[in-house]
Amino acid sequence: MSIAIGILLNGLASAMILYIIAVGLSVTMGIMRFINLAHCVFAMAGGYLAAYLIQGAGIPFAFAIVLAAILVALLSIPIERLLYAPLYAASELEQALFSIGVMFVAVAIARYFFGPAPLSFTVPEALRGQIDLGSVMPAYRILLIVVGFVVFAALWTLVETTSIGRKLRATVENRRVAEVVGIRCDRLMLLTFALGTGLAALGGALGAEIMPIRPNYAFDQLNYVLIVVAVGGMGTLTGPFLAALLLGIADTACKYFLPEVGAFFIFGAMVAILLWRPQGLLGRA
């Protein structure tokens, strides 16, 4: 029983990090219809930036992470305007190759400034303990789970109750009509992009223990993040949440019970789910 809870909680922790990173991609893909394979570059940037703030500038953990997320979000604005915006009308192949190019540049820059070794992550003092919830878990992992749910709740509130959320949902559903009605879609897309990349940076920095920050990060995590987005359904908030839960828990369980099968099950499950529902579990058809 304690093993089951342990798997559940560990799976939940990875799932929450995956969700925080992936939700930004899901919304930007839904609203911009842009195949941005380089999304994890922003998560990596968040991780490196947070590490620099903590170790280089001595800023406390929580502040550093939030600050890193905000900085990455701000930095993504000129990147979106200069690099991404001209390619909104380009073909899928061009968008995919463009984002692969961005990934290469990011890998090179990270390797140049930070070296090829993964960042060592030290859990802050206050969170080093362990909590017993039927299975003994590091307190940090519990924090990850809590943060994940908080982010989900905050996003849900934003999208379902505020006027910006309404405009966002309208743009995702039918951009042309939204523009006709007077919604400033390009501004909204910029805002969404910044929010998505900021969240990715947050997830990258928080999850540095589970998903180590190294130059190849964008390629390492691409598969999982894409699976979460594709299986969950682009353009939704709850889709990736559900998909991340399934993926995180199933992956942890598989690695524990069937290590010979490994990640094979995850990819197979993804193909099976997409065959059943090509638009994703909660996506629009």
């Binding site: 195949i35 690099l83 290469f104 540049v105 594709a230 065959l275």
Partner: protein
């Protein structure tokens, strides 16, 4: 030209149009250039034949990708799956005593083609991101399976006990790679003939139509999905052939042929020269491979950075790749000549 006459039903098509269609598939002098260059390289650069072989294999691989991505418009992130399937097929056969290279080649092509047929039938209903995820997912599943099935595939160490018999029983595999180079060249020639025949045929034209507007093609009665599956299967067989040839010449199969990076590099080589063009596949790989050998040796980080920058630049500014730019230059000089000669 067609606009400066009015036509009524029953008119014959203008003679120029007929001549254009008939002459489209005629061989021109320029068509022989790549083969002359390849043959000349054999004699001029006897010490660089392994590099040359790498380029020839890449050209065949990129040709197969061009068929699906450039002509049919199916964006696949995982075409290396078929390359790897062909490679491991030839490899496993060679390890277990069936080392005749041509036999291995044919069986690999058949296996990859069947895999393409089956997976195409399953995944080609999807479009966009979902389709990309299917291709990526199949690639990753295959990579994971190859990684785990160490007894069969050698796992992450690669498959190395291949015993490949002499080509046609006559030519042995020499240290300089002469046999390998010629073998690759001949296989590439056959593969190219296949691709050219498809591209120049009405089937090939319909593929371009499907790429441009599948719904319209459906409306005029083309069996869209069936055509896509067929071209996907043929392309898979070609990729598998490339993989098998590569495995036989090197007598080794590395696990990285099933990596995302490998498939992505194929796409990159394609877009550098321009997708949807018959000779794009001949220009991209030599440039990419030679550049990567020169630059990656100097400093791998440097190479990766500049590759990324070039890729971004090509997508943002150089639509249509090198051949596209060449086209624009030719059109621009022709327009200039027309202006000068009234």
């Amino acid at each position: 030209m067609l606009a400066d006459r009015t036509y009524s039903r029953g008119d014959a098509p203008p003679p120029q149009a007929i001549a254009d269609i008939v002459n489209r598939s005629r061989l021109r002098v320029a068509d022989f250039v790549p083969w002359v260059v390849a043959l000349a390289s054999f004699f001029l650069f006897p010490r660089s034949l392994s590099l040359g072989t790498e380029v020839l294999v890449a050209v065949l691989f990129v040709l197969s990708i061009d068929l699906v991505v450039g002509y049919a418009g199916i964006v696949t992130l995982g075409h290396g799956a078929f390359f790897g399937l062909g490679a491991y097929c030839a490899g496993v056969l060679a390890v277990n005593g069936f080392g005749d290279p041509i036999l291995g080649l044919m069986l690999a092509a058949v296996l990859a083609g069947v895999a393409g047929l089956v997976s195409g039938a399953i995944i080609l209903r999807a479009q966009g991101l979902t389709l990309m995820m299917f291709t990526l997912g199949t690639l990753l599943m295959l990579e994971e399976a190859a990684n785990r099935a160490g007894r069969l595939t050698g796992g992450s160490d690669g498959l190395s006990d291949m015993v490949v018999k002499p080509l046609l029983g006559i030519w042995d595999w020499d240290f300089f790679g002469r046999t390998g180079y010629c073998y690759c060249l001949v296989v590439l020639l056959f593969g190219f003939i296949v691709v050219r025949t498809i591209v120049m045929s009405p089937f090939g034209r319909s593929l371009r139509g499907i790429r441009e507007n599948a719904a319209r093609m459906e409306a005029i009665g083309a069996p869209v999905r069936r055509r896509l599956i067929v071209v996907y299967a043929i392309s898979a067989a070609l990729a598998g052939t490339a993989g098998a040839v590569n495995a036989e010449v090197h007598q080794f199969v590395a696990l990285n042929v099933l990596s995302f990076e490998f498939s992505a590099s194929g796409l990159i080589m394609l877009i550098l020269a321009g997708p949807g063009r018959l000779y794009g596949a001949f220009i991209g790989p030599p440039i990419y491979i030679i550049a990567s050998h020169q630059l990656a040796v100097l400093d791998p980080t440097y190479w990766v950075f500049w590759l990324g920058v070039v890729l971004i630049a090509v997508v943002m500014f150089g639509r249509g790749g090198i051949l596209g730019i060449a086209d624009n230059l030719i059109a621009w000089s022709r327009a200039g000549r027309k202006k000068r000669a009234p």
